[in-house]
């Protein structure tokens, strides 16, 4: 019960901090919008395959930028203060949940804007595509939160973040792109059950491993 309380307070703290500065939200939104714009100017018309791949590549970089800050930007003093107050499990759960919320909001906005600029194909199953986007943002946030915690412990976190997270995220990205492609072609929903299951399993595994490992990581 205490854990749930701690998690709740930590999430509240993150949201309040974010709402005060609106730095991550606005920054990443601007990033997504300008990237989509640049892509529009350079591509003009794109086919279905590129439409899907481009969306996920944009989201990949946006989410790395958005989530990298979750541990990298905390000052040493504040981290120490938080560590004295809460348990490590509460901290990693809260960060992951907060990042998932942030990513889901971002992805939905980005998807809407992306659809506005590049017209999606006619037979897109929008519900399934949204599901893919939500599952994608969940997987991105579970993996990147832990990697950013690891990267923050080294001297130059920003560069390591990309190196460490790309090989880990590639399997997830492959499944996601396949799932989203199925949704875009308007295939029957039962076709994508394999991918949904696999993504859920990966998320559960990553979350469990992160929960087990974070207590060892947080203390210097």
């Amino acid at each position: 019960m205490q854990l749930a309380q701690q998690v709740k307070h930590l999430i509240k703290k993150e949201i309040i901090l974010e709402w005060r500065s609106k730095y991550a939200l606005n920054g990443v939104l601007l990033y997504v919008v300008s990237t989509v714009f640049v892509c529009y100017m350079s591509f003009q018309i794109i086919d279905k395959l590129t439409w899907n791949a481009l969306f996920w590549i944009i989201m990949l970089f946006a989410s790395i930028n958005a989530i990298a800050k979750s541990f990298l930007q905390e000052s040493k003093g504040r981290q120490l203060y938080i560590y004295t107050l809460v348990s490590p499990a509460a901290l990693i759960i809260a960060k992951t949940i907060y990042n998932s919320l942030l990513m889901i909001v971002l992805t939905v906005i980005a998807l809407a804007f992306y659809c506005m600029v590049f017209e999606p194909s006619k037979d897109i199953d929008i519900f399934m595509y949204l599901l893919a986007a939500v599952l994608g943002s969940l997987s991105f946030s579970t993996i990147f939160t832990m990697v950013s915690a690891i990267a923050s412990k080294t001297g130059n976190g920003g560069m390591l973040m990309a190196i460490l997270s790309f090989p880990i995220i590639i399997p997830v990205l492959i499944v996601l792109i396949k799932f989203a492609k199925n949704a875009m072609d308007g295939l029957d929903r039962s076709v994508s059950l394999d991918e949904i299951g696999l993504l859920a399993v990966i998320n559960v595994i990553v979350m469990t491993v992160a929960l087990l490992l974070f207590p060892y990581l947080w203390r210097d």
């Binding site: 832990m146 990697v147 690891i150 412990k153 080294t154 001297g155 130059n156 390591l160 190196i163 460490l164 790309f166 090989p167 880990i168 590639i170 399997p171 492959i174 499944v175 396949k178 394999d194 991918e195 696999l198 990966i202 595994i205 990553v206 491993v209 992160a210 490992l213 060892y216 990581l217 210097d220």
Partner: protein
């Protein structure tokens, strides 16, 4: 008379000592001898014994004895690496950390050998060295995971901190490697046997003649990999002592 007896007893004693030493040596090294014998056997038998005649494969089917055992050895070594990473988190001992990194190092060597032997095989059967087959790609990506692990190690100077953080990344990355190597290839079409409607090797052409060589080859290469890893571990320990 007594002198002679004493001499004889002494000689028996020394013989016993000698044989005990040999026994002890054998006890420690029997698996190394076994590994060497098995690998030499597979090299000779694999190239000389009869194999099934297959349409496109022809004689390249013999590469099965060299290409596949590399992956087995790699997976075994990576598993050892993760095991010692988990241990080093709780024991905090330097030896466990060195074991983890050296087995990962050896595993990467076997992974590269697996990719190279596979690429040569692909050249003769599929027409080109790299045909962007899912299994080829995923194997390359899983090697990238371990390169990232080494980069992470080099980025941290303080030894205990490096041991801890690298161990955490290693454990975190291992399930992803399992997904990459064992789950994802099953979901996609591949040129490899056993995928995308291609019959698996065990269904028709891994007949008893090939099994006679294939299984010893796997065991032999796994043992050789383990041997290389122990050698690397011991030299590293010695190097650290002399520093």
């Amino acid at each position: 008379m007594t002198e002679l007896r004493i001499k004889r007893i002494a000689s028996i004693q020394s013989f016993k000592n000698q044989s005990f030493k040999i026994q002890k040596l054998m006890h420690k090294t029997w698996w190394k001898i076994l590994a060497a014998v098995l690998v030499v056997y597979t090299a000779i038998a694999g190239l000389l014994l009869g194999v099934p005649r297959m349409a496109i494969l022809n004689e390249t089917i013999r590469n099965l004895y060299f290409h596949v055992p590399m992956w087995f050895a790699m997976v075994v070594l990576f598993t050892i690496s993760v095991w010692y990473s988990i241990r080093s988190l709780s024991t905090q001992s330097e030896a466990d950390d060195i074991r983890a990194v050296e087995s990962a190092n050896t595993g990467v060597i076997f992974g590269i050998l697996g990719i190279v032997t596979g690429a040569v095989w692909a050249k003769f059967t599929w027409g080109q060295f790299w045909s962007f087959d899912p299994k080829q790609n995923f194997a390359a990506i899983s090697l990238l995971l371990y390169f990232a692990y080494f980069v992470l190690r080099n980025a941290i100077d303080e030894e205990q901190k490096r041991a801890k953080i690298a161990a955490i990344y290693n454990i975190f990355a291992f399930p992803m490697m399992v997904v990459l190597l064992f789950v994802l290839p099953r979901l996609q079409d591949s040129l490899h046997p056993g995928n995308g409607g291609n019959p698996g090797f065990n269904s028709y052409d891994l007949d008893s003649r090939m099994r006679m060589v294939f299984y010893p080859a796997c065991l032999g290469w796994i043992l050789i990999g383990y041997w290389i890893y122990t050698l690397r571990f011991r030299t590293k320990i010695l190097e650290n002592k002399h520093l």
